[in-house]
Symmetry: C2
C-alpha cells in the first residue's frame, strides 16, 4: 500500500491567511496545551502523601499534528524552525531532507507544512523569519483535512518552549517560629502556597513536614491533610527546598536522627496576575473583605482556576464558573478563562458530564457565554463551537420521556452541599433551568458560528423546555418553584436553587419575581444556604432586585464572620452556627474543609457589578451600563477592568464620578433633585431616575445629585 | 468542591470475577498497549532520512485508568504491586498510604482498586500474591464507571514491562562483499530486515549507508529510498550498530575521512513466529513459491501486520486483512491479529475511514468476522463491539440520498492500483458490496454482544443494500456488475472488483456466477489486475469455483515469474509485461516499489484453503471441512494450524491421509471408484462424490480412492 496521498483539499477550502511581518509565538492545536497542562496540575493532588488524580476521564493532546501556512514573500527568506517533538517539513508539498531547523523559502507564494509528533507533551512549533512568523493565523489539523486556526498563549521566545512552563516563585519569610522538642512550628502569618525552604539543612534522618491551613491541622500529625516525608543525608549544611508545592499557613517540621537546620522560609508560587480591579469604601470591614477576596482568588488562580489550594487542586466547572465572573472584576485575564474552559471540556467523545456532574455541564456552557459577553471574543466561540455541539448532543441524548434530565448511571447531581435533606432523584427544577439556559447559550453561539439552522433548533428547544419548567415545577401555592418531581409527582419541598436562578436569568414575570423574593430570598424560614458557593447566587439575586443594603449586611455578617475568626482567605464553607474546630472539619474529616476556596471570593463580583454597578450590555463591553449603588455606605470608589481599558467609579450621596477608557454606555442614578453633569446631557427616565451617556473616553464625568436610592 | 465521590455503582453492576491462583501478567486498558505500540512502529518510517509519520489521526492510550478486582481469600495474603506509571491503591475503597509496592490483604472478600497515570506509555499493572494475580479477569475503566475486562499479551515477568517491548534480533553474516574505492557494497543474499553492524569501526569522518532491496537501489546514492548518515569519531576500533532498523538486501557503505572498518554483518530483527503451517507438493517451483511467501509474510509480520518492510511500515487495513487470512494458514498467531485490529481501529470519535480509505473500513469489519470464524474468540468480539458500532455509525452517517456510499471530502476511494482508467466518482459497486458485507458482519457481532435488536437492524440494512446493489449495478447485457454510477447513471465499464467479491461472498445465483466466471474471471479480454493484492481475490474466486488447475498455472506464471527475476520475497506489484529496472519503479520513483510486500504472499492462503482444502465452518474450527484438490499436481502434503491443534493432509491420485487434533468435520473428495477408509464410514453424496466424517482426534484417516476431480 502506498502512502503519499497528496490531500490538499481541506487546505484549499480554507481561505489561506497570508503571513504578515509579526512577532512569532509558539503555536499548537487549540486546547491541546491547555488539556495537557491540566493533567500535570490536577495530578499534583495528594492526600497524606498518596497520589490522588481525578476520577473522570483524563484526556491528552493529539500526538501527531500538522501545521500549515501559505506565505507570499516579496524576497527570499530564511526561516528558523523550532519544534517540540519529532517533525518534518514540506515546502509546496515536497518533503525536505537534511537539516530542518533552517528553511530557505524563495520569493513568491508558497505552502509550508510542518508535521510534529510528540507523545509526552503537546506538539508545538515556533517559526521565525524576516516576515514569516508562527501565530494563530497558521492552520493546524490532527489528520490531513479539517484545518483550524492554531492556539497560542504568550510563549514568544523560541527557547522558552510551552512544555517548560511553570509558575514563578518568590521568597517569603516566616512570620513566627516556635521550636518544640523534636519539631519546629512555622507560621507564615497568612494562607499561602508554595515550597518550604529549610536553610542550612544537615545531618542524617527522616524529615517530616505536616502542613496546616490552621495551627490545629499542622500540629495534628496523624490527621493533617497534606504532608511530606523523606530521608535526608547531608554532611555539609545546604539549603533544601521541598519538591511539591503545598497550601498552608503553618508548617510543622519534625526532623529525626541528627538532622539540624538554621531557619525556615518558603518560595511562594503564584500565577502572575495584575489586580486591574479595585474597590474602596467608607466601611473598613468591607475593604478588608474585598482584599481577602482578591487574595483568595489570586491564590486559587493558578495554571487554571481551581477550587481550592489545599485539597482538590482540580478544575471543577461549577467552581470555575464563579472564578470566571469574579476574575472579570479583578484580573480580566481572558487566557486564564479560555485555558480553563478548554481543560474542562477536554476531547470528544463526551464520556460523562463535565466532572461527571450534571449541573457542571451547564455551568460550562454559561461560562462560554459569559466569556463572550465580557470579552467579545467571537473567534474563541467559533473555535469551541464543535465541542459545544457534541457536549450538548450528549445532554440531549440523556433526556427522559418528558424531555427532561434526571440523574442516570454515572451522573452526579450535585446542586450544593446542604445541611438539609434534599432529594437528587427524578427531575430537579434547578437542573432543567440550567439546561434551558444552556440551550439559549447554544442558540447564541450557533449564530456566531454561522449556523442559523442549529441556532433556530436550540432556540426552539429552550422555549419548549422553559414551558415545561413552569408547567412542571411552578407552584402557585408555594409561590415558587418546587424542588423536584419524582415519578411525575411534584414534591412539596421548596429549595432556593431554581428560584434564585430563575430571578437571575429573568425567567419570571414581575409578580413571580416578587413572589420568589418574599417566599424564598427574604423569607427567614427558608432553607439556609451554608456554602459561599450558593450564597454567591443568592446574594446576586437580591442585588439584582435592588436589595443592596440587605446584601451589604449579609456580606458583613457572613464574610466578616470569617474574618472575625481569623480567616486570611475565604473558606469552602462557613456556618455561623458552628464553633471552634467545627469550622475546620468537612466530609467527616477533622481538617477536610478548605480554608482557601475560590468560591469564597464572591464579594469581588458583587461589589463590582452591583455596588460600583458596572456590567457589559454588549459583547466585549462595546456597550456597558453603570449603576452605582451605595447600599448604605457613605462612599465607594474603584475600578472595573474591561476588554478595552478600565471604568473608574466614585460615588457618594452628592457626587458621582465616572471615567471609561473604551466603549460607551449610560450611567444610571436616582436623584432627589435635578442633577448636573460637567459633560454630556443628563436625561430624566423616570421618577427621580436619570441617565447620562458616557461616550468620551478617558475623560471624567462628574455628576452632582442628591442620592435617592 | 469536594472530591471523593464513592462511585461503586458501575463496579457493582458487573458480576465480579473472583481471583484464582494463577500466573500474573501485565494488564492494561484493552487496545491501549496496541495503539501506543503502533505509534512507535508507524513513526519509524523515514524517506531518505526525513521523518515520515502517517497522515491520519494518531491516537493514544488513556493516560489515567483504574483497575479493579474483587478477591476472596481463605488466608491473609501479601501481594506485590508493579505499575507503569504513578499510581495509588485502594483497599475496600480506602486510599492506602505509605509504600505501595506491597499490600497486605486480610482474609475474606475485598475490593482492590489501582489507579495509574502515565502520559508517555500505556498505564499497566502487574500484581502477584499467593493466589491473587493480575490477568484479564481484572476490570479496568478510563473513568469511574463502565469497567471492561483488562487487556494483556504475554508479559508474564514483573520486570519485563510492556513499555520495554522490542522485537528480538539475531546476527546474520553477509553473503558477499564488494569493496569499491571509497565504499563497500554488501549483499546479504536475500531480502532482510534489521540493523547493520560494522565491525572494528575507527577513524573520523562522515559515514553514509545507502540501502537497497535491489543492487541498483543501493548503488544509486541519489535515488535510494532509505539511507543513514552520521558523523563518526573513534580513536579505538569498536563494533558499531546502526540505530534504526531498515529493509534491504544490499547495503552500500561509504565512509569519508579516515574511517576504516573490518567487515560488515547485520542483526536480523524479527517477530518470533512459529511456522505451524506447512506445504510440500510434487512441483518444486510451487514449493519455492510457498517458502518465499512464508518468508515474505514473516518479514512483514512485525509488531503488527504491516504492508511492506522498506517503505511504509504502516498498518493498512486492506493489506492487514490479507495478512490475517494468510497467517491463519501459517502462524495462527491470534494476538498478532487482535493487536492489528485494535491499532487500526484506534479510538473514538471516528474522524475518518480507517487509513482514510473507504474500502479499508470495510475490510476491518470483515477482518473481525474472519478472526471470530477462525478462532472462535467471542470475548474479543464483545470487547470490540462498541468500537464496531461507532465505526459503522460513521459509515452509515455518510450515506447519500440513495442510501449508498460515495467518496466525500477526506475519503480516499482506493480499490486497487490499476493500469487502466477507473472512475472513483459516484457510487462504486465494489464499495457498496463491501459495505453490505460489513453490515452482515455487524448483525453477527451484535448477536454475539447480546444485542438482538441491533442485530435485526443491521440484518435489515444489509438486505436492503443488497437489493440496491443488484438493482443499481447488475447488467444483463454485460453479464456482470458494472463499475459505478454517477448522477444516477450506470457506467458501461466492467471492472473485476465487485464481481470477484460477489462470487466470494456468495451473493450471486448459479446463473449469475457462471456469467461472471465467463465474462470477467476467465475472459482473456477483461481488464488486467497487476497487483498481487487483487490477484489474491481473483484467484480465490476461481478456486472457489473449482478452477484449481487454472489457478495453479497462474500461480506458477505470476509468482514463478517473480522468482525467475531473482525475487527473494514477493513484491508489491508485478507486471510480466515490464522488464529490467521497470520492476523496481512505482509511484513515479525509480525504487518506489516495495520488493517485500505482505500482499505478495497469498499463495500461502490459496494453497492452504483450496489445495489442502482446509477451512473452518464454525467459529474456532469447531466444525471444519477438508476438500483436497490436486489442481494437476501429483501429490500435496502439509499442515494447517487451527485453534485447537493442526490438521494434516496428504493427497495423491490414489490416497488421502488426514489427521485432525481437534474439532470435527467432513473430508470431501471425488472418486471414480468406490473408496475405502481405514476408519469411519465413507458416505456417497453425489455422482462420484463422497465424504468421510473426521471425528477421532490425532488419528490418521486413510482413504483409498481414484481421483476424479
Amino acid at each position: 500500500m502506498k502512502t503519499t496521498k497528496l490531500l490538499l483539499v481541506g487546505v484549499m477550502l480554507i481561505s489561506a491567511a497570508f503571513a504578515r511581518a509579526g512577532a512569532a509565538t509558539w503555536i499548537w492545536y487549540p486546547g491541546d496545551f491547555e488539556i495537557r497542562l491540566s493533567n500535570n496540575m490536577q495530578n499534583r493532588r495528594t492526600e497524606r502523601g498518596a497520589f490522588y488524580p481525578p476520577f473522570w476521564r483524563m484526556d491528552s493532546h493529539y500526538v501527531l499534528v500538522e501545521f500549515f501556512k501559505t506565505v507570499d514573500l516579496e524576497a527570499p527568506e530564511e526561516v528558523e524552525i523550532y519544534a517540540e517533538g519529532e517533525y518534518n517539513v514540506k515546502l509546496d508539498g515536497r518533503l525536505q531532507f537534511g537539516k530542518l531547523d533552517r528553511l530557505h523559502i524563495p520569493a513568491g507564494r508558497h505552502r509550508l507544512n510542518i508535521r510534529v509528533y510528540n507523545q509526552l507533551v503537546t506538539p508545538a512549533i515556533f517559526v521565525r523569519g524576516k516576515t514569516v512568523a508562527s501565530d494563530t493565523s497558521w492552520l493546524v489539523t490532527f489528520k490531513d483535512t479539517e484545518f483550524v486556526n492554531a492556539g497560542s498563549w504568550n510563549f514568544n521566545d523560541a527557547q522558552a518552549t510551552p512544555s517548560q512552563f511553570s509558575l514563578p516563585t518568590t521568597p517569603k519569610a516566616a512570620a513566627a517560629t516556635e521550636r518544640g522538642e523534636a519539631s519546629v512550628l512555622v507560621d507564615f502569618g497568612q494562607e499561602t502556597f508554595g515550597f518550604l525552604k529549610l536553610h542550612g539543612l544537615k545531618g542524617k534522618g527522616n524529615l517530616s513536614v505536616y502542613y496546616g491551613e490552621s495551627r490545629e491541622e499542622a500540629l495534628d500529625t496523624a490527621g493533617c491533610e497534606t504532608l511530606d516525608r523523606l530521608y535526608v543525608d547531608r554532611s555539609q549544611p545546604e539549603d533544601f527546598v521541598t519538591s511539591a508545592s503545598r497550601a498552608f499557613r503553618y508548617a510543622n517540621i519534625a526532623g529525626g536522627g541528627t538532622l539540624l537546620f538554621d531557619s525556615v522560609s518558603m518560595l511562594y508560587e503564584y500565577m502572575p496576575e495584575v489586580y486591574r480591579g479595585a474597590f474602596r469604601c467608607s466601611d473598613e470591614e468591607l475593604n478588608r473583605i474585598w482584599d481577602i477576596s482578591a487574595y483568595t482568588l489570586q491564590l486559587s488562580t493558578r495554571e487554571f482556576f481551581i477550587d481550592g489550594i489545599k485539597r482538590d487542586r482540580w478544575i471543577w466547572s461549577g467552581d470555575a464558573y464563579q472564578s470566571f465572573l469574579m476574575s472579570y472584576y479583578l484580573f480580566f485575564d481572558a487566557p486564564s478563562v479560555t485555558r480553563t474552559l478548554y481543560a474542562l471540556r477536554g476531547k470528544d467523545p463526551v464520556a460523562s458530564h463535565i466532572n461527571t456532574i450534571m449541573d457542571y455541564t451547564f455551568y460550562w456552557f454559561m461560562g462560554v457565554y459569559d466569556y463572550y459577553l465580557f470579552t467579545g471574543d467571537e473567534r474563541f466561540v467559533r473555535q469551541m463551537y464543535p465541542r459545544m455541539e457534541s457536549l450538548m448532543a450528549y445532554a440531549l441524548g440523556r433526556r427522559n420521556a418528558n424531555g427532561m434530565l434526571e440523574g442516570l448511571s454515572g451522573d452526579w447531581v450535585f446542586v450544593d452541599w446542604a445541611e438539609f435533606a434534599m432529594s437528587k432523584k427524578g427531575e430537579l427544577s434547578f437542573e432543567q433551568l440550567l439546561f434551558c439556559r444552556s440551550l439559549e447559550v447554544m442558540a447564541t453561539c450557533a449564530e456566531i458560528a454561522g449556523n442559523g439552522e442549529r441556532a433556530a433548533t436550540y432556540a426552539a428547544l429552550s422555549q419548549e423546555l422553559k414551558q415545561k419548567l413552569f408547567d412542571g415545577f411552578w407552584s402557585n401555592e408555594k409561590n415558587a418553584f418546587v424542588h423536584n418531581r419524582e415519578g411525575g409527582r411534584q414534591s412539596s419541598q421548596v429549595t432556593p436553587y431554581a428560584n434564585i436562578f430563575a430571578v437571575l436569568l429573568g425567567y419570571l414575570n414581575a409578580a413571580q419575581t416578587q413572589a420568589v423574593k418574599q417566599s424564598v430570598l427574604l423569607n427567614p424560614d427558608a432553607l439556609k444556604i451554608t456554602t459561599p458557593y450558593m450564597r454567591f447566587y443568592e446574594l446576586e439575586a437580591l442585588c439584582a432586585l435592588g436589595e443592596q443594603e440587605h446584601v451589604l449586611k449579609e456580606m458583613k455578617s457572613y464574610w466578616g464572620g470569617m474574618l472575625k475568626l481569623g480567616a486570611t482567605s475565604f473558606w469552602e464553607k462557613y456556618d455561623p452556627r458552628e464553633s471552634g474546630a467545627q469550622h475546620l472539619a468537612m466530609y467527616g474529616r477533622p481538617y477536610g474543609r478548605s480554608l482557601c476556596h475560590a468560591w469564597g471570593a464572591s464579594p469581588l463580583y458583587l461589589l463590582g457589578k452591583y455596588y460600583m454597578g458596572v456590567q457589559p450590555l454588549k459583547p466585549g463591553y462595546g456597550e456597558f451600563c453603570i449603576k452605582p449603588n451605595l447600599g448604605g455606605l457613605q462612599w465607594i470608589e474603584g475600578k472595573v477592568p474591561t476588554a478595552g481599558g478600565d471604568i473608574a467609579v466614585y460615588a457618594d450621596a452628592k457626587t458621582i464620578r465616572v471615567t471609561a477608557d473604551a466603549g460607551q454606555g449610560f450611567l444610571y442614578f436616582c436623584s432627589a433633585k435635578k442633577p448636573k453633569a460637567n459633560m454630556g446631557a443628563v436625561e430624566k427616565v423616570g421618577d427621580n431616575e436619570y441617565r447620562l451617556l458616557i461616550s468620551e473616553h478617558k475623560k471624567q464625568y462628574v455628576v452632582t445629585y442628591r442620592n435617592a436610592q
